[in-house]
Amino acid sequence: MTVFELEAIVFVAGSEGISLADLAEAFDIEDQEMESLVREMVDVISTSTRPYIPVVSKEVVRLVTKPEYSNLISKVKQTLDKSPLSKSQLELVSLLAYRGPSTKVDIDTLRGVNSVQPIKTLLLRGMIERAGESHGSTIYTLTQDFWEMIGVVDPSNLPEFAELHTTLVN
């Protein structure tokens, strides 16, 4: 398998992306070999004139446009409503971004207030989505559209991620 074959697949997969595990299965190669191929692809694309870069987040690889095209593209493509987030909406997305997917109960406990309202609004704005249940409480997570909106596709690239994540997870 070549780097360009891999790029063709990732191109077709679009913003849904494709997991490294699925790629390894489809091409019948070892996970390790797959990872090194993906690394090679990242190198090739990043140093080329292509207007996008591959991003690997949580074992899923996808192509997104380079940040320098952001203003230009926003003229022709509207994704999420970028009107300012309210204080409680901002707290909620921050919690999910730095802590990871969390149940309603965890969110309420961490914020010290009931979060029904900001959850509803963020669901409708397409910034968060339901992702199953744990102990009878709905789990919420940020959407791909949200990450693309803030221009950070991999959470670990958020400012101060390591420090804030550790505080919030323990």
Partner: protein
């Protein structure tokens, strides 16, 4: 203690923890039991002037207030007995503020990212260009039935406005601090003295409600002591506290 410039509307703070963190930061303190005892008075001042009557929110503020009063009491009377669960409440409040501080800092980063306009864009998948039917063997009419029922039950649950858990304690905020102050003032001005233990007994009924009213009364009395209307005496080290109007001392 003259930094009282913030306005008293509920919208300024997303909740009691946000308010506490703001008070601590405005005094350039770090998060600790000591700094919590220092900002207690301002926190209570805020509650007494709160204009919201969102019962859920008021309950949440009062629950934090009760822990703060405990902290304050312990800082004033070191010998005060604190139960294990109260000790845990204090530790939890400190931790909660620290966690909240991280969330708030993360929120600031995200706000900056949104404002910087560095969005990236993906491309819709091309898979659907190839028309093939891709079945999922797990789907049967029973699965559909189950999913619709889960959906129906979920929507029903979401329609209930206030959880029944909070229903039992929301009765409390219906008595305003000012009413209690009035009641205490009446007793004191008629020349009598008041003991803290009498006050809590006078509320009777549910232990939790009794505890909450005692806290509110204690706050009211502290406020009066601060304003020089009332004089407080504690005769023995761990004894009851007796309140007398200043003009009778």
């Amino acid at each position: 203690n003259d930094d009282m410039s913030f306005t008293y509307t509920a919208e300024n703070f997303s909740g009691p923890i946000d308010l506490l963190l703001n008070l601590i930061e405005s005094h350039k303190l770090s998060i600790s039991e000591i700094s919590l005892s220092l900002v207690t008075a301002e926190f209570l001042e805020y509650i007494s002037r709160m204009e919201t009557f969102d019962r859920m929110l008021v309950t949440q503020f009062l629950s934090v207030a009760s822990t703060l009063v405990l902290i304050k009491a312990r800082s004033l009377i070191p010998a005060i007995e604190v139960t294990e669960s109260e000790e845990a409440d204090i530790a939890e409040l400190e931790l909660q503020i620290k966690l909240y501080q991280s969330i708030k800092r993360g929120g600031e980063h995200i706000q900056t990212l949104v404002a910087s306009g560095q969005s990236v864009y993906g491309r819709d998948s091309d898979w659907h260009e190839m028309h093939t039917f891709l079945p999922d063997d797990r789907i049967t009419s029973e699965v559909l039935l189950y999913m619709v029922k889960v959906y129906r039950d979920r929507t029903k649950r979401e329609e209930i406005p206030i959880s029944t858990v909070t229903e039992s304690i929301v009765i409390m905020p219906t008595v305003a601090l000012s009413e209690i102050v009035e009641r205490i003032e009446k007793t004191l001005l008629s020349g009598g003295s008041l003991r803290l233990s009498d006050i809590s007994r006078s509320f009777g009924g549910d232990v939790r409600i009794q505890k909450s009213y005692t806290i509110v009364s204690f706050l009211a009395l502290l406020e009066m002591v601060k304003n020089g209307i009332v004089h407080a005496v504690q005769n023995s080290y761990e004894g009851d506290i007796e309140f007398n109007p200043v003009n009778s001392v």
